[in-house]
């Protein structure tokens, strides 16, 4: 489910803005660190969980405005260089601000411990994360399918010139899309913190997986990225049971095959 969140966030960014956002993993980590600091400041897990992703969104707006906007016509190489540079800056910034030593965040008391599901014990917090992520994904889906903004965003992926001809400020659309993608990365990071703990490089693994999800879904296929995110998660845990060393290799293998055979993605129609 978290993969779906990361995937959909990156999918919006790659789809609407057509840039490879290498800073996505670092923003994920930033969401987790914001969560911990806000909990320390406010003493409230839920409020922190709400505010941390918004903080990441604000950073996202700054990045889009100051860095990415001049680059829409610059070619992927410079976009790559910029977003990679930003991810270095964010990661090193985390080290300077919070220290390189990993940190720990417990789930709120009512979500600690495991629940016996009959077949297996499962942690309460993970159940909560699944439910929350499912709700968010559903929310994102409704937003994209049923609202005017969602429609504009989808149209922006299909045909940017048409959208701007219709009198919609394309720059505002881009900023909004980038910020939304960042917020989703921030939520995923914040939700992950109690499961995996925090360290400045926590986003690196996630970045790779997010790209796999996007590739499987097809660039800019937002709904596909939800399904692909779930698929990757399930596939990875299944492979981990039988052949743990290969769990990462397998998903990249699948990504390669999909890119070769069905570049429009598993769920692409184009």
């Amino acid at each position: 489910m978290l993969y779906a969140l990361m995937g959909i966030g990156l999918s919006i960014i790659t789809g609407v803005l057509n840039i490879p956002n290498f800073a996505h993993g670092a923003l994920f980590a930033l969401g987790a660190y914001f969560l911990v600091t806000l909990i320390q400041l406010l003493g409230n897990f839920w409020l922190a969980l709400l505010l941390a992703p918004l903080g990441v969104g604000v950073i996202g707006i700054v990045i889009e405005y100051g860095g990415i906007r001049p680059l829409y016509r610059a070619g992927h190489d410079y976009q790559l260089l910029l977003t990679f540079g930003l991810s270095l800056i964010v990661t090193e910034g985390i080290i300077i601000v919070w220290s390189p030593v990993g940190m720990s965040q417990l789930p709120p008391p009512i979500l600690r411990g495991g629940v016996d599901l009959g077949i297996t014990i499962y942690p309460r917090y993970r159940l909560f994360v699944m439910a929350a992520a499912a709700l968010l994904v559903l929310g994102a889906w409704l937003f994209l399918e049923r609202t005017r903004y969602g429609a504009i965003m989808r149209a922006g992926i299909e045909d940017k010139e048409m959208v701007s001809l219709l009198g919609i400020d394309i720059h505002r659309l881009f900023t909004a899309a980038f910020a939304l993608g960042c917020v989703l990365a921030g939520i995923a990071g914040a939700l992950t913190a109690p499961i995996r703990g925090l360290n400045p490089w926590m986003g690196v693994d996630m970045l790779g997986i997010a790209f796999v999800v996007v590739a499987l879904a097809g660039l800019g296929n937002l709904l596909g990225s939800i399904v692909a995110g779930l698929l990757v998660g399930v596939a990875q845990s299944l492979v981990a049971l039988v052949w743990p060393e290969a769990s990462v290799a397998v998903i990249f293998g699948v990504m390669t095959v999909v890119l070769l055979v069905r570049p429009q993605g598993l769920f692409g129609i184009r």
């Binding site: 080290i95 390189p100 990993g102 720990s104 965040q105 417990l106 297996t120 109690p194 703990g197």
Partner: protein, 406 residues
Amino acid sequence: MSGLSRRDVVKLGSAAAAFGIGFPTVLRAQPKEVVMLGLWSFTGAFSDVGPVLDRGMKLALEERGMKVQSKTIKYITRDDETKAGSATRRAEEAVDSDGAKFIIGPWSSGVALAVSEVAKRKKVFHYFSGGTEDISGARCHRYSFQWAASPYTAAKTVVDTFMQANPKAKRWHLLVADYAFGWSVEKYIKEVGKGHGIEFVGADRHPLGEREFSNYVTKAAGNKPDVVAMINFGLDAVTGAREIFNFGLTPKVPLILTWSSGVEELVQLNPEIRENLWVGSNFYYTADTPIAREFVKSYQAKFGNPPGYAPAAAYGMTRMTLAAMDKAKSTEVADVVKALEGLELDDLVGRMRVDAKTHQTLRPYFFMRCKKKDAMKGPMDFADIIATGSTPLPAEYAACKDIGSL
């Protein structure tokens, strides 16, 4: 350039070099200097440990006023980036350009094995502390030494002590990092466990750098073990321990970290997660030796928190190296290597002896039990040492058949 023969080209190059040798004199070692290299991770996977390793080594050198055998010690560091490539190239470069003759570090086993090759090729002294058996085992040679206890010593200490405290806990589930070090500790734990009648209900291997432990923990929980023991290190151990807690296994089921860095890992876990956590380590700051007490005192005074295994290892290795120089009354690599072989003294963790045949430092290993939250006297008061053990690796397991020549 066709008019020049190959030899001329090389000569030209040498001429350019001769011109160059005098130039960066600042960078080159004076004969009166002993250049010691601390090869630490300031970036990459172990970058949290690099700075404290640096502190430990510096402390040991400053104690001696940066002098040994009436020569000045020049301490330099390089960032190994926790990568074999960066570590070897920076080590080579430090040896070639700065005249470094004594390398301490690095922290990661895989990286250290690569650096050990550099030491062998460049004939420089190398002291390392960490989880690979190979430095004093299959890939031993005259220039590299191992400071950490043998994995056998660790397994023996952990299993014996734990079974003494919990004689009924016979069903063990193991979670093992999938590389050479994990396998050898697993082998020894099973070996020692036989004597206690332990039944190993499961042994799962996870790749290095695993961050998603839920599948392994689900499996562990399904086996209904009396104990879960993890054989992994650093973030893998921290992430695994957190997940085992999230699944509600701990504190009901005790969890053992077989080979832990102690403070560095425990500080990354909340007190709730540390309840019923048992920890084996190469160092813990309540170690009761005169040198450890002094070291902890000065470290705490300087940096405000107690030292973990990492700074202690850097400190300990540097001390042993300096002790060998004193014994040899020389700072030549060959003399120091010979002096360290067989050196026996009371040092940081107690009685220590360097085995000349394998270059393994024979020494005590610590086993701790973590305190409950309300029993802690301060935020860093994690655990009590409940045992130390120093059974060396039985000769039939020794993989270092021939340490070779200088």
